[in-house]
Homo-oligomer: 213 residues x 2
DNA sequence: AGGTGTGAAGGATTTCACAGCC
DNA sequence: GGCTGTGAAATCCTTCACACCT
């Protein structure tokens, strides 16, 4: 593996976008793609694409470009999605259930293997219409995470319950958290946390829209 | 209004986080907060908070800090959430329905006023369990957006349908789009686009988790 | 010609550090 | 003593531009 000691955050964010673009244009069966072609759709410069990819070694052919399939494989390995990631979800509310039936995760090799909720009313009931998973009580988390070898957790509980859910997940041995609750999570340094606050996204829009008038 | 001619993107992103922190600590009835107190929870430096706020004028008291309530009001006005934003949603699938019943939006003054879907099977059916909104056909969009004075649109359709949905929304006069489809959207410069790709979020996690071992 | 990889230059953002105010 | 607002310095990131490859 390359000496990818430290990668700037903006680069990591773009990596996923490159992969998405590549996968979108793979069906066209063009064997290669240039940094320019990759960059235009994303509103970036061609130099940026080359610099970003150069963090992980050099796999372009001067005069030709990048081999699409090879680059896809390489990017998947870099991002870690060449293998299955087992994920547990805490919070069987509306958002949690929506994520459970979201097809995109499985396509990207993220498999949700268990669902937990604090509400005794929900425990035992099927978490999805297809009844593939039943909601389990929080107490089971440690055992289930261990048994399923899940390494990631998704938090879709109310803000007040988020830190508690995070603590349990961390205790159970999860290595990364995707948090949808509108609050900051504290976690030890060996646990990676990424947050999506849906209201914040809309706020960004309302700010920008107000600016342009 | 202040000469907020141009605000760097990183600053805008943090603005929402400041407001969220402030709202979280408002119930404690502490009258003021220091840049340091605001910064620690978010993992930022105190200087950063002060610099960011300084873009919009100066409302701190040396030796005291910032008046919590005043800062909240000010931030809401800056972000545009001191008024109601009417929002329409396209795509009555799982994610769309989850967003419809997400309480956080209304709390932040974002009101979803209509739901559209291309599937004739879904049209006419209630979009939420509480039956407050019925799914409408895409053809109605222009008229409904006009009638409801909606200015923002949320896209929760499959990737293949996203650009089409965006075009219709733009045509109908919407000024900002929040896109959950895993694809890049093209839009004219007067329309602001913000995207959330759920799989990309998990990919970021798998990358970071792989790094730290 | 068309295209990559990369030092060097340029810009943007963050941190430092301190004068000045409460 | 505590804290803000802000120039100056430092750091981080992007763009330029070109040697080199096919």
């Amino acid at each position: 593996m390359t000496k990818a000691s430290f990668i700037p955050a903006p680069v990591v964010r773009r990596l996923s976008l490159y992969l998405r673009q590549l996968e979108a244009l793979a069906p066209e069966h063009k064997p290669t793609v240039s940094s320019r072609e990759l960059s235009v759709g994303l509103g970036l410069s061609d130099a940026q694409v080359r610099k970003d990819l150069a963090y992980f070694g050099q796999f372009g052919q001067p005069g030709i470009g990048y081999d699409v399939q090879a680059l896809i494989s390489r990017m998947r390995r870099i991002l870690g999605t060449d293998r299955v990631w087992r994920v547990v979800l805490v919070g069987a509310g509306n958002l949690g259930k929506a994520l459970l039936s979201y097809k995109g995760f499985k396509k990207k090799n993220f498999h949700i293997v268990a669902v937990f909720d604090a509400d005794p009313e929900k425990v035992g009931k099927p978490a999805t219409p297809d009844r593939s998973l039943a909601v389990q009580p929080l107490e089971e988390m440690a055992a289930v995470v261990k048994a399923t070898k899940a390494r990631l957790g998704i938090i879709t509980v109310p803000a007040e319950a988020a830190q508690g859910a995070a603590n349990r997940l961390i205790e159970a041995g999860v290595e990364g958290l995707l948090n949808f609750a509108p609050t900051v999570l504290n976690a030890p340094p060996h646990v990676v946390v990424s947050s999506v606050d849906l209201s914040v996204q809309l706020e960004q829009l309302s700010f920008q829209v107000n600016l342009s008038r």
